[in-house]
C-alpha cells in the first residue's frame, strides 16, 4: 500500500466507526428515551401498552395509602386530572402531599401506573423542572409561593 492508500484506509475506518456510533446513538435515543407526561396530557397521547414513561405532577392531598409492607399508592395530579400510582420501595425523603414528584414506570392494563422510581429532589425548594413548567403553563403554581 502506498502512503496515500494507507491514510485513506485509516480515515475511512474512522469515518465508518463514527457513522456506526452515530447510528447507534440515534437508534438508542429512539428506543430508550422516555417521554414526560402530566396526567392531563395522557388523554391526548396514545401510549402503546408497556411503554416506559415519566409521569410528573403534584402528590394529591389525602391520597397516600400505605399498603401491606412496602407498597405505597398515591395519586399524581396536575389539578386537572389525576392518575393513581403504585410504588414498591422507599419513598424519597421529601415525598409529601402537594409536593412535586416525577415517577417513572409503565401503565398496568387497568390504568394504574406502576412506578419503579419516584423522584423528589433533595432540595427543599425543589420542583422538578418539567413539573414546574407544566404547572406554570396551567397557572396552578407560581414561582414565589412562600
Amino acid at each position: 500500500m502506498t502512503r496515500k492508500q494507507k491514510r485513506l484506509t485509516v480515515i475511512g475506518g474512522a469515518l465508518g466507526f463514527l457513522g456506526l456510533a452515530t447510528a447507534l446513538t440515534f437508534y438508542a435515543l429512539g428506543q430508550k428515551a422516555s417521554y414526560f407526561y402530566m396526567p392531563a396530557d395522557l388523554q391526548q397521547a396514545t401510549l402503546p401498552p408497556g411503554e416506559r414513561i415519566r409521569l410528573g405532577g403534584l402528590v394529591e392531598e389525602g391520597t397516600i395509602v400505605r399498603g401491606q409492607g412496602t407498597e405505597v399508592a398515591f395519586s399524581v395530579t396536575d389539578k386537572e386530572k389525576s392518575v393513581k400510582v403504585v410504588f414498591n420501595g422507599l419513598l424519597p425523603d421529601l415525598f409529601r402531599e402537594e409536593q412535586g414528584v416525577i415517577t417513572e414506570g409503565t401503565f398496568r392494563p387497568d390504568g394504574v401506573f406502576v412506578a419503579d422510581s419516584v423522584l423528589a429532589k433533595h432540595d427543599e425548594t425543589y420542583m422538578p423542572k418539567e413539573v414546574a413548567d407544566s404547572l406554570k403553563a396551567k397557572g396552578v403554581w407560581q414561582e414565589s409561593t412562600q
Partner: protein, 659 residues
C-alpha cells in the same frame, strides 16, 4: 472590616484580571518584552487578592457574621465548625469564588513556574487565563456577589442544606473544580498557540503536567462525588447518568483523550492540530458542565442553588469562549504545520484509536445529555434520556476500547509488532479467560455478562501488571538486575500501568455490583431478622437521638456472619433538620472485605414495624478504589523527571548533554 476587605480585594482582582488579559497580549503582539513581563506579577498578585477575598468569606462563615447575606442564607450558628468552613463553598456564590480562586491559582502557577516558557507563549497563556478570570469575576460581581451585606444583621442564619452538611462537601467540589479549572490551562496554552500561530515541539510537554494534574483531580472529584451520592442520598446507586454527573464526566473523557494525544504529539510531533482542538473542547465541556450545574436547565437530582437568570450570564460566557476559541481554531489551524503520519499498528496508532473511542463516547454522553433540551426546543415535547440510553451506547463503545487498552503500552512507537504484543499478553489473556470460567462455574447467580465483564476487568489488571513485568525484564534477567531496572523505570511507565490497573479495578467493581447485587425491601419489627448473602441482620429497634442541629431516629441493626460470628452494629437513621424543615436519610453502611451491606430506613408502618431497604453490594468499594489508584497513577506520572525538562539547554543537567 474583614468582610469589606475581602470585597475590595475581589474588585481589585477583577481590575488586575483586566490588565492581565490585555497588556501581555499587546506585548506579545508587538514584541514588547516589558509588557509581556507584566503577566507574571499580575497573575500572582491577582491570585493573592482572590485568596484574601476567599479567606475573608471563610472568616465570615466561621464567625457566623450574618451581616453578610450569603452567610445568613447558608449558615447557622449551631452548625459544627467543619460545616461552617465547608459551607463557604456549599452555595452558589461561594462556589463561584472557589472556582475563580482555583483559576487564579493555576494562573499564578504558570506565572511562577513558567520561567522556561518562551516569553510570548507565556504572555499569551496568561492573557487567556486573564480573560477567563475577568469574565467569571464580572459574573460574580454582577450577579452573585458573596459579599452583599444585610442591615440590620439577623441573629440567626437559615442553615445549609442538610444534604451538604457532610464531609463530602469538604472534598468533592474543590477537587472537581481543580479538575475543571485545571483544564483551563490547557485551553489557554492551545489558544495561545493559535494566537502565536506556531506550536513548539515542547508545547505538548508543557501542557502535559497541567493535563495530568487536572485529570488527576477530576478523577478524584468524580469518584468522591459518586461515593458521596452513594451514601448520602440513600438510594444505593453509584452513578445515575444524571445531567450533573455527565457534566463532570464529559470533560473527564475528553481530558483522558487529551492526555493520550498529547503523548503522541510530544513523542512523534503528530496529531498537533487534533490535540489543540481537544484541549479547547475539554475546557469547553468543563464550562458547559459549570453552566449545566449552575443554571438548572436540566432536571437533576444533585443540582443545588440553581438560578436560571444567572444561567444566562454563564451561557454568554460559554458562547464567547467556546465560540471564540473554535472560530480562532478554524481560522488559524490551517496555518499551523501539521504533524507526520504514522503506521496504524504502532503505539501512536493505538493512542489514536483510544482518542477515537473516547471522544465518540464523550459525544454520545453530550448528545444524550442535551437531547431533551433540543427536543423541547424543537417540538415542545418533554423527554428524559436516562440510564438505559447511556448503558447501551456508552457501554457498547467502552467494551472494545477496554479490550484494546492492554495492547497500547506493548506496542512500540512508529512501527509496532502486533503478534509480538499479543504473545507478550498471553499470560494476561489466560488469566482473564480463567476469571471468566471461575465466575461462570463457581459464582452463584452469575450471568454470562458478569463472567465476560469480570474477564475484561482481569484482562485490564493483568495487562497492566504484564507491562511493568516486561519493562523491568523480571522474567528474563536475574532478580537483582530486574529490581534495579524496576526502580530505574521512568515514573510515567508506572503511571500508565497504575492508571490502567485502576481502570480495571473500577470495571470489576461495576460488574460486581451490577450483576451480583441483591436488594431486599422488607418491613421489620424489632427483634426480627433478615438473611442477606449468608449474613444475618437483626433489627434492634428505633431510638431517638439529638445532634447539634438536627434530630434523628436511629434504626439499630446487629450483623452476624455464618455461625453467629458477631460483626458489629449498623446504624441507619432518618434525620430531621428543623431550621430547613428537611428530612434526610442517613444510610447505614458496613464494609465487609471489598463488599458492603447498605441499609436505608423508610417509613414506619402502622403495626409498629419500619420499612427497611437492604442491599448487598459485592465488590462495590472497588469502583472508588479504582478511582483512587487512577489518582495515584496521575500523581506518579506527575513526578516523572521528564515533565520537568524541556527547559533550555543551559538549565539541563550536565549528564544529559554529555550523553
Amino acid at each position: 472590616m474583614i468582610v469589606e476587605t475581602g470585597h475590595f480585594a475581589l474588585v481589585l482582582a477583577f481590575a488586575l484580571a483586566l490588565v492581565q488579559s490585555s497588556v501581555p497580549l499587546v506585548g506579545a503582539r508587538f514584541g514588547n518584552e516589558r509588557m509581556m513581563a507584566v503577566g507574571g506579577p499580575v497573575a500572582i498578585t491577582g491570585f493573592a487578592m482572590i485568596a484574601l477575598s476567599f479567606a475573608a468569606l471563610t472568616i465570615a462563615y466561621v464567625q457566623s457574621d450574618f451581616s453578610v447575606a450569603n452567610v445568613w442564607e447558608n449558615s447557622h450558628s449551631l452548625k459544627p465548625m467543619l460545616f461552617k468552613i465547608t459551607g463557604t463553598w456549599g452555595n452558589h456564590e461561594g462556589s463561584m469564588l472557589l472556582w475563580v480562586l482555583i483559576l487564579t491559582f493555576f494562573g499564578a502557577q504558570v506565572a511562577a513556574f513558567g520561567g522556561n516558557l518562551p516569553a510570548s507563549l507565556r504572555a499569551n497563556v496568561l492573557a487567556v487565563q486573564g480573560w477567563i478570570g475577568a469574565a467569571f469575576m464580572l459574573f460574580i460581581l454582577a450577579t452573585s456577589n458573596p459579599f452583599a451585606r444585610l442591615t440590620p444583621a439577623p441573629f440567626e442564619g437559615r442553615d445549609l442544606n442538610p444534604i451538604l452538611q457532610d464531609i463530602g462537601l469538604a472534598i468533592h467540589p474543590p477537587m472537581l473544580y481543580l479538575g475543571y479549572v485545571g483544564f483551563s490551562v490547557c485551553f489557554s496554552f492551545a489558544v495561545a498557540a493559535l494566537i502565536d500561530g506556531r506550536i513548539d515541539a515542547a508545547w505538548a510537554r508543557w501542557v502535559r503536567p497541567w493535563t495530568l494534574a487536572a485529570w488527576t483531580c477530576l478523577t478524584g472529584g468524580i469518584a468522591m462525588g459518586s461515593y458521596w451520592a452513594y451514601y448520602e442520598l440513600g438510594w444505593g446507586g453509584f452513578w445515575f447518568w444524571d445531567p450533573v454527573e455527565n457534566a463532570s464526566f464529559m470533560p473527564w473523557l475528553a481530558g483522558t483523550a487529551l492526555l493520550h494525544s498529547a503523548l503522541v504529539m510530544e513523542k512523534r510531533s503528530a496529531l498537533k492540530i487534533w490535540t489543540l482542538l481537544l484541549a479547547i473542547l475539554t475546557f469547553s465541556l468543563s464550562l458547559l458542565g459549570t453552566f449545566l450545574v449552575r443554571s438548572g436547565v436540566l432536571t437533576s437530582v444533585h443540582a443545588f442553588a440553581t438560578d436560571p437568570s444567572r444561567g444566562v450570564f454563564i451561557l454568554a460566557i460559554l458562547t464567547v469562549f467556546i465560540g471564540g476559541s473554535l472560530a480562532l481554531f478554524a481560522f488559524r489551524a490551517s496555518s499551523l504545520s501539521a504533524g507526520g503520519i504514522f503506521q496504524p499498528i504502532s503505539r501512536e496508532g493505538a493512542l489514536v484509536l483510544n482518542n477515537l473511542f473516547l471522544t465518540t463516547a464523550a459525544a454520545t454522553v453530550l448528545i444524550g445529555t442535551l437531547y431533551p433540551l433540543f427536543i423541547e426546543a424543537v417540538s415542545g415535547d418533554k423527554i428524559s434520556v436516562g440510564a438505559p440510553f447511556f448503558n447501551l451506547t456508552f457501554g457498547l463503545l467502552m467494551i472494545p476500547l477496554l479490550a484494546v487498552v492492554p495492547f497500547g503500552p506493548m506496542l512500540a512507537w512508529k512501527r509496532g509488532d502486533l503478534p509480538g504484543a499479543a504473545q507478550r499478553l498471553m499470560f494476561a489473556f489466560g488469566g482473564a479467560l480463567l476469571a471468566v470460567l471461575v465466575v461462570l462455574l463457581f459464582v452463584d447467580g452469575a450471568t454470562v455478562f458478569a463472567a465476560l465483564g469480570a474477564g475484561l476487568a482481569f484482562w485490564l489488571i493483568l495487562g497492566a501488571l504484564t507491562d511493568i513485568v516486561l519493562k523491568a525484564g523480571i522474567a528474563s534477567v536475574k532478580p537483582a538486575v530486574a529490581l534495579r531496572r524496576l526502580v530505574g523505570l521512568p515514573r510515567s511507565v508506572f503511571g500508565t500501568a497504575l492508571a490502567h490497573l485502576g481502570l480495571g479495578l473500577t470495571v470489576l467493581g461495576i460488574v460486581g455490583v451490577v450483576s451480583l447485587e441483591t436488594e431486599n425491601i422488607v418491613t421489620m419489627r424489632p427483634g426480627e431478622t433478615l438473611q442477606v448473602s449468608g449474613y444475618t441482620l437483626r433489627f434492634e429497634g428505633i431510638q431517638p437521638f439529638k445532634g447539634p442541629n438536627y434530630t434523628e431516629d436511629q434504626g439499630r441493626f446487629v450483623l452476624s456472619g455464618s455461625g453467629g460470628r458477631a460483626l458489629g452494629e449498623i446504624v441507619s437513621a432518618k434525620r430531621f433538620y428543623p431550621v430547613r424543615q428537611m428530612p434526610t436519610t442517613e444510610a447505614g453502611i458496613k464494609t465487609l472485605g471489598l463488599s458492603q451491606l447498605y441499609i436505608a430506613l423508610g417509613d414506619a408502618t402502622a403495626d409498629g414495624g419500619v420499612v427497611v431497604r437492604v442491599w448487598w453490594k459485592p465488590m462495590v468499594t472497588l469502583i472508588w478504589l479504582g478511582g483512587l489508584v487512577m489518582m495515584i497513577a496521575g500523581v506518579t506520572s506527575l513526578m516523572d523527571r521528564r515533565l520537568r525538562v524541556g527547559a533550555p539547554a543551559k538549565r539541563a543537567r550536565p549528564g544529559l548533554s554529555a550523553s
